[in-house]
Symmetry: C2
Subunit: 500 residues, 2 copies
């Protein structure tokens, strides 16, 4: 009798599956004592470190430099850009006091209470446009100071009502790019450049196909003229906004008086952009690739590429098998793979297999005494049916396993793309819209439909179906039609979906 | 007539010199709008990134894994370890509210105020022993879960009264290692291992000679049984505590009920350690190596190793010189050096020289049309008299400049070590103590003297002289004597100094 899986099947309960995969993969856990926060455990954090390293290299290659601004922002700063404060007001955590003191209750129990009230409260940054606007004002005088291309890796805090690990937490880790330019054209070029950096990273590193598009007015970043995004499909057919890039126009320039002397000699406000991705990407990875056995990771983000599991019954076998395993491990490390030779003696090989499977290791290699005698090893690919075992000559195994990494990376991308294509539906009638959105077997669709361009219609569609306009795709063809909801004229189709 | 230097000489006003070096080196600036905080600018942050990368590699090589815990800590957690809360109570920033709302003043002006009071306030982590103790309780059940070796890179907040950039700021960036072990011996081994990691990093990467020692009871981390440290001498003869490693005993284990089933089957409390270094190291770098012309950086932490400054008077010269400069740049990059070929047309060569000098670039290369004709270039080492120019054949310049990096790294270390040795004085009489401590020409000394082992004497010495016991050096010989202050018996000498 098979033991019951610790992971709820995707098709039975997707949100529960998601939580189970994270728990069994040892990625994170809710910080039940800190409202809406999470603890990122070593295996989850190692994935984030890989995300960071790859993106950071891309940011530097496009001329950006990292800097660090204060966590706390004077409350008054937030109010300087009117739309911005409206968008973030309810999500701010506010620091009002410093110092603690011990006091005694009436019944003599010791208790801690806050001590000194601050003259002006600070908010914990929900994003840093305002404080960075303040410094851009100090740092930018002339066109020679432009473009100013800054990135910050930081924690931010948005007091959320409904949280979900990685996808929406009160505190999260992210990077926020902030740039200032002499012209609107240059700023827009930057906005699109960074969107492309995100899209390329998503597709080639995360193995996650994305749609590049523009947000509607209703879904724009608070304070932006235009917001661009990459949108990905999860395995329940819902959309995940995986990254955004904002054209801030001169809104923050005016709010923080960031002016420069132009080449012509006049004083002009700078044109700004901001763009960010966060630990949410780790949640996207989980929901895009994992299966009912647990986490599946694309090799380019896997903290461990190969787990070698030795099989032995006695010390003599153990010595031989581990020696062969160590030789293989070294050969793989020489090919720049990250490898674990799992020599734990207090665990059975089956349990080890199970653990590395749940942790998403792309390839597991089994090595027993008969394999060593026959100079072979047996491997399983994490992206394939676990019953599928392949036997390899041990001597030449390393380059074969190395080549497998590219193959697995590609197969995950292809699978995710085929899934999205199979769950993308073009519709023209309102009833079809609702049916298509809902999908079948608990898997929804991206619905490609005409929209009349009004926030009013967008909101009504959301009320009736929970679908939002994920984006107006950048590659959407001009195609006159009529709005699927209002029947009014439409210039092109947009993408509707339920979203995280 | 020479222009007045923007940097105050060290011997005239050391604190002002420090600020000037940071400003002219474009490392950071005070965040005047956020109490006691700073903005770390790109050049300063790039140094911190190099510190991080090197240390992170060392932490991983010693078996540690990174994780991330919440920024906010329930106020009640802090009170669970009595000494700990006493040590940190006054330095806590407290989050009491969420959400903002716009209100109108009596005169109709819009204003922002805080909205919802939290049920329990949170403190922004001043350090994470308490929240991590909470999770260790959840994660550790058996001796098989030990040792647990965690590190966190994070921002922390300590509301300081007197701040100084990098050295003491309300918010700072750091790493905090937190480990749990089955026995006190293993924990102590870890404490010493990480102290050695810090010392090796300081000496071999920062070019900063350090003394390894133990803190007195009075200077211990709040909640630790024993605190070990590395102490370095700055160019004013004061001490900088550059890193600490704490034996926490079972204090936090008991406070957070972190118990494990031992091999023998009983339930025991874990033995914990914690250890950390922070952005303060960047301040230490500045104060140890820089000179009256500005920042001096050891090559291993320099974001730019070589600045190539082309000299030309017309377009034809510009083309030739920049072509030669680009060839040299590529040759240096191939040797893994970070190089800037400074082609800015709106700046004179002298100004470029000056800027790279102030930014601490180890080597500047000058390349003019006559150099190119003669197949030579001229370089200046940042660690030598700026008048000292060396001419090199251009063709073979790259390997020579590469080799210079090791030489500069070593010369900075040797210089700092010679300085410390010249400013370390053994004394046995109280009057000599005071004279030695004060030193001459504004440069104090490390005073190696006998101490009777009591906090009372330590405090009196501090009151009278501002000197604290920096540490009891690990290599201090047993040497019976009498306390320089009280005349009571002493078992060995300790190091006194004024400190940052």
């Amino acid at each position: 009798m098979a033991a019951e899986s610790p992971i709820t099947p995707r098709r039975k309960d997707f949100p529960q599956w998601y939580q189970d995969v994270i728990r069994q993969g040892d990625l994170a856990e809710p910080a039940e004592v800190v409202r809406g926060c999470m603890v990122i455990k070593p295996h989850g954090y190692a994935i984030w470190e890989k995300v960071q390293a790859d993106l950071d290299r891309r940011f530097k290659a496009t001329g950006h430099r990292n800097a660090y601004f204060p966590l706390l922002i004077p409350m008054s700063f937030l109010a300087k850009e009117a739309t911005h404060v409206e968008g973030f007001a309810m999500e701010c955590a506010v620091v009002t006091h410093s110092g603690l003191r011990a006091v005694k209750d009436g019944d003599g129990h010791a208790r801690i209470e806050v001590k000194n009230e601050l003259e002006e409260p600070y908010v914990i940054r929900p994003t840093s446009e305002t404080i960075i606007g303040h410094y851009f004002h100090k740092w930018i005088q002339s066109h020679r100071d432009l473009p100013m291309l800054i990135n910050q890796w930081a924690n931010v805090m948005r007091w959320e009502m409904r949280t979900r690990m990685f996808l929406r937490t009160s505190e999260f880790l992210w990077q926020e790019g902030h740039t200032a330019h002499a012209t609107h054209d240059e700023a827009l070029e930057e906005v699109r450049r960074m969107l492309d950096v995100y899209a390329d990273f998503a597709e080639n590193v995360m193995a996650l196909p994305v749609i590049r598009g523009e947000k509607t007015e209703n879904e724009r970043f608070a304070g932006a003229l235009r917001t661009f995004c990459i949108e990905a499909m999860m395995q329940d057919g819902k959309a995940l906004q995986a990254g955004t890039s904002h054209d801030l126009g001169q809104n923050f320039g005016k709010a923080f008086d960031v002016k420069f002397q132009s080449k012509g000699g006049g004083l002009e406000y700078v044109w700004q952009t901001s763009w960010g991705v966060s630990t949410r990407l780790v949640g996207g990875l989980v929901m895009a690739h994992s299966d009912d056995a647990g986490l599946v990771l694309p090799p380019k983000l896997a903290p461990v590429h190969v787990a070698i599991i030795p099989i032995y019954k006695n010390d003599a076998e153990r010595t031989r098998v581990i020696e062969a395993g160590e030789t293989l491990r070294r050969a793989l490390v020489d090919l720049d793979l990250s490898v674990v030779l799992d020599v734990r003696d207090d665990m059975r090989p089956g349990a080890k297999h199970f653990e590395w499977e749940q942790k998403g290791v792309p390839v597991r290699v089994e090595l027993g005494p008969r394999d060593v005698d026959g100079n072979t090893c047996v491997y399983k690919r994490r992206d394939r049916d676990p019953k599928e075992k392949v036997t390899l000559p041990l001597a030449g195994a390393a380059p074969v396993l190395k080549a497998l990494m590219d193959e697995i990376q590609k197969s995950l991308y292809d699978r995710a793309k085929a899934f999205r294509e199979a769950h993308t539906v073009k519709v023209d009638a309102w009833d079809d819209f609702k049916t298509a959105l809902k999908g079948t077997d608990g898997v929804g669709n991206f619905v490609v439909a005409h929209w009349d361009g009004t926030t009013e219609t967008e909101k009504k569609i959301k009320e009736e179906t929970r679908a939002t306009i994920r984006c107006i795709p950048l590659d959407a063809a001009d195609e006159p039609g009529v709005c699927v909801y209002s029947g009014r004229p439409s210039a092109r189709r947009v993408i509707f979906a339920e979203a995280y």
